[in-house]
Each structure stands twice: as structure tokens, then as C-alpha cells.
Amino acid sequence: MTRVLVPTGALGLGYDRAALDRGVAMRPDIIAVDGGSTDSGPSYLGLGVSKYSRAATKAEWRELMQARAAAGVPLVIGTAGTCGADAAVDWLLDITREIAAEDGMRARVATLRSGQPAGRVKAALAAGRVRALPAAPEISDGVIDACTNIVALAGVEQVAAALATGADIVIAGRTTDTAIIAALPILRGDHAGAAWHGAKVGECGALATTHPNSGVIQIDFDATGFTVEPMLPEAAATPYTVSAHMLYENSDPFILYEPGGHLDVTGSDYRALDGRRVRVEGSRWVPGRYTVKLEGARVVGHQAVGLAVIRDRRYVQNARAWAADVTAQVCQKIRARMGLAAEEFAVELRLIGMDATLGALETRHEMPLEVGVLGIVTCPTAEQAAEAAKMLNPYLLHHPLTEDEPMPTFAFPFSPAEMQRGALYEFCLNHVMELDDPMEAFVLDVHEVGHA
């Protein structure tokens, strides 16, 4: 039997402190926490940075390091620093060293790096060992070279190798959400289908319970299945909350692809052991070729934005025509004054209050009280974006609906009116790469921290 304690769905999101203490008192074999995902968009991977504040991360990580020391078991984090790029692993390692020094703690830390050199991915592509997943974008050597970061998602083999170093703390770069939870149960010979399925249930912390924000959940894995129990006494796991979690952010609620195979929960049986614990059996692990998923992000331009608010009723009623006119005139001016060709830049006005969320797919067309006009310019360089946004400025402030009317002025919330957004990143890989040896694309290092 292997007992895994998951403190929260992601480090930085918070958790119930008393529930964490209760989890530690239950004597887990390992504490596992996720550090990120792609869900916040491509810029975190592109830049190799965390979306959560360093202070919040450090405060929670310190508590988890203390919990680990109290329990005397390993602490493992996957997808460190939101994106799991090598720079994000270094960022968390740095925080770990600081905490160890400040608290007089000593620990052996293993880092597992998932960053991929472009050369490796290009060689795999040339060798026919990179395969596109459904809805993948076209790739080429050029696209791979343009990525500022490429990561491969590690599975249980790489996390198990990190644990095998005898590490107290494992800081892993990009891993699958499930791998950090499934690794120890699989290493110890628990049921493989149960290990992956229980890991999927636990990867978002207490999200699969009646009290999602309490964070802390415990999963017991054994030879035939797994048992889920939330650590907040008021929280309950029910067959419904546990089975429904397979829907969450999964395009297929029954099949989950992982390195080296897939999980099939079609035949899983969910049974309430009491009012707040659920037992699951019948999940199947189906071995397959050893592949790891790749993620990459590249810069596709630079942006600046401006925001104006239109309250005047006549302008609100004619906002679409007004925005179309502004867009056409600004584009013409940018071409003429900056010498950019039409395909080199873009100006888009999103009408907040009308269709800013859904765009052309919007089905409702009601007249709002006011309209926020979010002007977005995208250019090859940051300097050009700043210039183009300044050309947009007078239109957002004063553009009249007709030539023969008094000049209108709209509401600008800020001065300066333009905001530099920096680089626009795009995800450009949705592919898997075949490996002969799970460790060949990952780098494992051991660091002793807190030593004089």
C-alpha cells in the first residue's frame, strides 16, 4: 500500500492548513504537488516564468518543506514554476535554498529537467520519431528553432528515477499532471491502472470532492485499486465527485494518454466506503510505445494595447461601424507613416460589452449601456507596437462618426493611454516524441541544500 498526500491542486493556489496537518498526521509515504499547466497560456512557457508570485510560492513551499520534514518522507513537485521550463526549475531550486538557509534545514534535492534542445527535437522529427496529435499545428525545423522553450512531459519513469536518488525533495520540470502522484505507487508495485487513475483524481487536490478549495486530499493505492479521502473533515468524496473528475479538462473522459501507454477507466467501479471516502477498482493501464508529449512556445510578434470607454448613447448604438472605421483609418496610417506592409501588423478593436468574449460566434445582440474598446496592435517589434499604439490613440479618444459633427471625446482610464504587452507567444507543438530510454530526454541532478 502506498499513501500519497496531495496538499493542493497547484502550488500557489492555497489550501486548508489544518487539513494539511491532518494529512501529515496520517503518515503519508510521499507528498506530491503540481506546480502548473498550460492553462494560463503560452507566455509562461515562452518566458520560462511562474504565474504565481514568488512570495506566495515561497510561503507555501516553506510549509510543504516543513510538512515533509515532519513526515520524514519525500516531497515532489511537478511542472515547477507553472511551465516546467529549466529556468522555472532553477527558480524553485533557488527558493528552496533560501528557505533551507533561513530555517536551518538540510535536504537532498533532486532536479529533473524537461527542457529540450531544438537539435534533439529536429533530429527526432527527421527520424520520423515525432508524431502530431489531433489538431496539432504544422511544424518544421524553422518552427522548432523559433521556440524560446521546448519541454517534454515526463512520466512516472523519470520521477521514479529522481526518487531513487534518495532525494528528500524532487523539483521536476514539466511532467504530466498525474506522473508525480502515480510514480511511487507504480515503483512499489501497486496496481498500475489504479495508480494512474487515482493520480488523475488527485491531481487537482480536493477538486474531486465537495469542498474544492480545501485543497488537501489523500489517496491510498494498493494491489487492486485506490481509496480517496479528503483531509478536511467536512469535505466528502462521493462516487459522483470522483468519477465526474475524469471530465475535467479532458477531451476524452475515459481514456488518458501518458508516457508509455494509456489509462482506460471505462470499466472502473466507484463505491462509497462511507459518507466521505470512495473506493475505485477496475481501472486499466494499457502499455504502448514510449512517447513523451512536447510543448513549445515561440514569439510571433509584439503587442501594445489601449483602452477607451464609450458611454455616449449614439456612439454605443453605432459602435461596430465606428470601430470598423477607426481600424481602417489607423491601418492606413500605420502603412503610410511606418512603412509596414499590411501583412506585417494587425490592429484589432474588441468591443467589451458587445462580443469581446465570443467574437463572431456571439449569438446575442443587445444594446449595452457602455462599450469598452480594447485596441490591440501587433507588430514585429516592441518599438513598432508602441509607435502603432500611439497612432491609434487619437482615434480612440476623438474619432467622430461623421465628418460634420462636433469632435467627441471618450473616456481614457489611464495616462499614458497605451500599455506595452511585450512579446506575443504562441504554443506551436502538439506532438509526441518517441524515446528508447525514458531518461534520454531528461536531466537529473542532485543538490545538497542547507549545508554550510
Binding site: L247, Y248, S251, D252, P253, F254, F427
Partner: protein, 100 residues
């Protein structure tokens, strides 16, 4: 005809990775589930999200009283044309769809 959102307890849309969107319709009771399952046509849902019907994946899950759809994201997450980084706003389209 009622809107779907008036019949069910929740309609949720989320990214399933940067390239896919998944929409879960939680029906609560077998009676509502049955009505929703029959009332929601694949063509109408594909049209709502502007995707090819052949690419729409559908799961009718009686044990959960859930109807689930997955589609290639109408625009890839985080690209210049993306308007909703986490993909949660698309649920409104289905929520406000009138069904038999």
C-alpha cells in the same frame, strides 16, 4: 422552447490543453439527462462553436447524467485571435441554446 441553461444545473467549458476545448453539461437527473441527450444535436453544437462536425467528440454518460462535447478549440489558446485564455466563456453559447 427553454434555454439549455434553464434545464440543467451547470454548463462548463474548459481548455483540454491548448488545442482542444471540452464542454460538460451537468443534468442532475435522469429525466433532464434524457431530454438534453435527445435535444442536443451534434450539427447544432458544431455550428455553435464553428467547427467541423466530423471533429466533434461526444460522450453521453448516463452514470453521471452528463453530456460532454470536445472540439478543436475554435481558436488555439493564446494566439492573437484568442479572446478567452481559459476557454470558460464558450459555455455561454451552449447554455443559451434553445432546445426541444
Amino acid at each position: 422552447m427553454p434555454e439549455l441553461g434553464q434545464l440543467v444545473s451547470k454548463v462548463r467549458s474548459k481548455n483540454a490543453g491548448p488545442f482542444w476545448l471540452t464542454i460538460d453539461v451537468f443534468c442532475d437527473t435522469p429525466a433532464v439527462y434524457d431530454r438534453v441527450r435527445k435535444g442536443l444535436r451534434d450539427e447544432a453544437v458544431a455550428r455553435l462553436f464553428g467547427v467541423d462536425r466530423q471533429l466533434l467528440k461526444r460522450f453521453d454518460i448516463a452514470s453521471l447524467n452528463v453530456v460532454k462535447f470536445s472540439v478543436p478549440r475554435p481558436v488555439v489558446q493564446g494566439t492573437r485571435a484568442d479572446r478567452d485564455m481559459h476557454g470558460a466563456g464558450w459555455a455561454c453559447l451552449l447554455e443559451e441554446l434553445q432546445i426541444d
